[in-house]
């Protein structure tokens, strides 16, 4: 997938990407952006203007919780933890996206990974 996915699809998929990453371990903003970029081969790439507002919205919804902690280099970073509510969102979101790709696949022959 060479081209970056843009706009609302990227935004919607961003929620799933963040929740999936945080389900593995708490991360701070820069790490989230870096891992999403690396693990999607650059298909999803967050700028600051897209990442942090999304994190704050997810925090407001109670899906994630930010806490200042020192990172490995001893610098204070705001680590995002998945909350029980966020964990509950993960399965239905995954299901929604699976259904979305299946629908797209049957319509346009776009198979997902």
């Amino acid at each position: 997938m060479g081209k970056r996915i843009r706009s609302k699809i990227a935004r919607g998929s961003g929620e799933l990407a963040i929740l999936s990453l945080l389900a593995e371990q708490p991360l701070y903003g820069f790490e989230i952006a870096k891992q999403i970029g690396e693990r999607t081969g650059g298909a999803l790439k967050f700028t600051l203007a897209s990442l942090y507002p999304l994190l704050y919205e997810m925090e407001k919804r109670g899906w994630v919780e930010g806490r200042w902690q020192a990172n490995r280099a001893g610098r204070d970073r705001r680590y995002y933890h998945l909350t029980p509510d966020g964990r509950k969102q993960l399965a239905p979101l995954r299901q929604e996206w699976r259904a979305f790709f299946q629908a797209l696949d049957s319509l346009a022959g776009v198979s997902h990974a």
Partner: protein
């Protein structure tokens, strides 16, 4: 870290955001830029190049606007008041007062209808338009408005005039089977003078506030 915080605070302040954006957010964005800078340095870039590349990840205007929206309960509506409605209203109010003052001083546009329609827009009148448009656009920009919102806040009076002109034309068309109080052949000219010239004056006031004044940025890629 302190340097990055100052930079973030300054950039957000330029977009009228520091009052509504918490210190935590400033610290978090500064931390991100610091990490991005360190990453670029590890990749072998010189200090200035690494700094430039780190800053290229930020579109300050979007960041300020989206963070405000994400942090507020009311979200977009409250934001829109500050970025559009209040600046537009301020522009219209200022212009109304300014025009009244100019009329009291005997300065007003003149229209003479003879063999040809003739118009005159005095310089103070046009300057008043430019000043009010600048005030509206400046207020919108300070409220963190997008360029489109700043444009509307600056050019708002022209939208009102366009509406008035449309109503007037419709009324004359209905009652007199004529487009305007002037002969039909001059109606186009009338529209041009009543709309285009004032709009140009308003645009001159709005234009300086349409730019972002950003440092080292590229297009957002999300």
């Amino acid at each position: 870290m302190r340097e990055w915080k100052e930079l973030v605070r300054e950039q957000l302040k330029m977009r009228g955001s520091t009052q509504s954006i918490e210190e935590d957010v400033i610290a978090e964005v500064a931390a991100h830029l610091e990490d991005a800078y360190d990453h670029e340095r590890r990749e072998g870039h010189q200090e200035s190049d690494a700094r430039k590349r780190a800053l290229e990840q930020v579109q300050w205007h979007k960041l300020a606007r989206r963070i405000r929206a994400a942090k507020r309960e009311e979200g977009g509506m409250k934001d829109r008041k500050k970025t559009l409605w209040l600046p537009t209203f301020a522009n219209l109010l200022l212009l109304t007062l300014g025009i009244q003052a100019l009329l009291m001083l005997g300065i007003h546009p003149q229209i003479a209808v003879g063999q040809h329609v003739w118009f005159s827009f005095p310089i103070p009148w046009l300057l008043a338009l430019t000043f009010c448009a600048a005030a509206g656009a400046l207020l919108a920009k300070r409220g963190g408005a997008s360029p489109g919102e700043r444009m509307i806040a600056g050019l708002a009076p022209s939208l009102v005039w366009l509406g008035e002109f449309g109503v007037m034309a419709a009324a004359f068309g209905f009652y007199r089977q004529d487009f305007a109080p002037f002969p039909l052949k001059d109606s186009g000219l009338t529209a041009v003078w009543w709309v285009v010239l004032p709009v140009l004056a308003l645009f001159a006031g709005t234009l300086p506030f349409l730019g972002e004044h950003q440092v080292g940025e590229t297009q957002e890629m999300d």
